[in-house]
Amino acid sequence: MNFERIREKLNILADAAKYDVSCASSGSDRSNKNNGLGNASKMGICHTYTADGRCVSLLKILLTNHCIFDCAYCVTRKSNDVPRAAFKVQEVVDLTINFYRRNYIEGLFLSSGIFKSPDHTMERLVAVAKKLREEENFNGYIHLKSIPGASDELMYQAGLYADRLSVNIEVPTVSGLKLLAPDKKHEDFTKPMEKVKNEIVRYTTERKIIKSTPKYAPAGQSTQMIVGASGESDKDIMYSASYYYKTYNMKRVYYSGYVPVTHDSRLPAIGSKVPMLRENRLYQTDWLLRFYGFSVGELLNTQHPNLDMDVDPKLSWALRNLHHFPVDVNSADKHLLARIPGIGMQSVYKIIKARKFRKLNWDHLKKIGVALNRAQYFMVCDSRLWERRDMDAEKIKGMILQTSSGKFRNQYSTQLSLFN
């Protein structure tokens, strides 16, 4: 192995891959076969964290950053003047195995610029995964990017070796896509998604009948949307996200605050602040949709097309719907408990267990980990000291903001001062 050459390539191709935020290595439970190498654990492990606090669990690289397309938001686009490099299939295999054996990573996340044609590119990605599984007996995690426009046959093969497949939709609206990625058609994205979804459905049905049916993309598929590049509203983003969750059984949708990488009049200028708070609010919303039983229309609608920045989406919903409150924590069912601001899903289950033994009061709830500074306005418990004052939404919000110290508080106050 020519170490210096590999080093150069790795620097270029890791750098180009880092804007893809999905790092998840969870959701697959591949066990170790025949005393081979590795397994994929259900929870996924973060082996380290980047300087901005994101989980590093996979070796995330591009096979190559040569690309025949010119998508405006992408560093790899052909008109961009950057150093280019390409890994050989075997080089990626060696890197993955050696990193894995040293317990640096959970597996590989391989994406690529499109060289020659979508199929030509997809074929190489599949070749890496196949080699890892069949020659190295590797049972760790493999995430492959589905190249937009790749054929059904290749997508089928990809799923046989990979744990997860993803196509980044990147631009949440069709009009935005036309503007920013003129070479790509909306179907180029959805066709591979459709194929993968159908295969997953087919394989799971067959597995129910024949136990030994091999796995097909056991961790499912995911996609990513860029936030803040094409003037879309939070409603646009979350409605598309819900559409992808439903239509293609997506496991995850990722939201990535746009990092300006280019001078282009269609996009925010280089140096514009990455909309991290907004990204965070979108993830919170996504969470509420997937785990808390909210429907997207409750959180975002025509009267309310964008998320509040100063309070989280659940609190924001509660403030708009005070008629549902207060909820009695000693009798309410879990769906209602989950809607109280300051009570997370973990607390919901702890409350349900603990209240079998006694009626819960403020002290109990505090020990359980409920954020009372928020929750107190929306609930009653076994205590006469509950918040009885009849306050309106603005008042409650004010009281809560006074006592909270969220991680974006500073950022928010500087943002606020901009508008004063």
Partner: protein
């Protein structure tokens, strides 16, 4: 009144469980349960030395497990915290557990239960951290070797994870603080103690115990770690919260390179 007795055991988990067995069996009024190398004579209590007995320990283990799976893992994890006085707390916990009828002892508003659960959680967190932060280095005799220095005695807890994952390579994980390690020889995992001259953390000076290739891969990993950073999103506080500083010296990506 029954005079109170301090039970002294050998420091092992089985030893502790045996002490619990003896206490229940002989209806001892327990003043304290102490490790033999830390035992202190209380002024007003008798001391009784407990000899570890795997059969007795097993009966206690099964007794707790039959009440609740969650409880047995809480007991084991909390024990490994090596927290001062944890034995008595566990003894109280087990007493409370045994008094419950249906075994589902999950009253988190009870302070002993809560405390044990919190200790167990801390140990559990470190178990996960160690599964993540172990960094193997390949020695010339083809053993993947790692030093760790965890706050709690987590080696027994992480053994299975590494056995399941690295089934086709020899590996050795050594706890520098507690001076023992676990070694997998392609067949099974065993406890070992070594006379380590050097503690191999991520220093830049190369040791000739390791292959040349080893250092090349460390450099590549280092590079990779650096290039994952997106400068416009930097957040050192969050970073340290995830990767506490006390672990840094064993992480090769934290090596200061030229």
């Amino acid at each position: 009144m029954n005079a109170s007795t301090t039970l002294v055991y050998d420091g092992s988990f089985n030893g502790f469980l045996t002490a619990v067995f003896v206490a229940f069996d002989e209806k001892i009024n327990v003043a304290d349960i102490q490790k033999n190398n830390q035992s202190q004579n209380g002024l007003f209590s008798e001391t009784e030395t407990v000899f570890t007995n795997v059969e007795k320990a097993k009966r206690v283990w099964n007794g707790i497990r039959n009440k609740s799976h969650n409880a047995i893992s809480n007991v084991y994890f909390a024990f490994l915290s090596e927290a001062e006085g944890v034995e008595m707390m566990l003894y109280n916990y087990i007493q409370k557990l045994m008094r419950t009828k249906n075994g589902k002892y999950l009253d988190y508003s009870d302070s002993t239960v809560l405390h044990i659960a919190q200790l167990a959680k801390k140990v559990g967190r470190e178990k996960h951290r160690m599964e993540a932060f172990v960094r193997f280095q390949l020695t010339k005799d083809e053993i993947y070797f790692a030093n760790i220095e965890p706050d709690f005695d987590v080696l027994p807890l992480i053994s299975k994870h590494f056995r399941d994952r690295y089934a086709d390579q020899k590996w050795l994980i050594y706890d520098v603080r507690r001076k023992y390690g676990i070694y997998y020889d392609l067949d099974h995992v065993e406890m070992v103690s070594l006379n380590l001259k050097d503690i191999h953390h991520n220093k830049t000076v190369k040791s000739d115990a390791f292959t040349n290739e080893e250092y090349e891969y460390q450099t590549l990993w280092n590079d990779y770690f650096k290039s994952t950073n997106i400068a416009s999103r930097i957040n050192p506080k969050l970073h340290k919260q995830h990767v506490p500083k006390r672990y840094w010296k064993y992480l090769s990506e934290k090596k200061v390179t030229a």
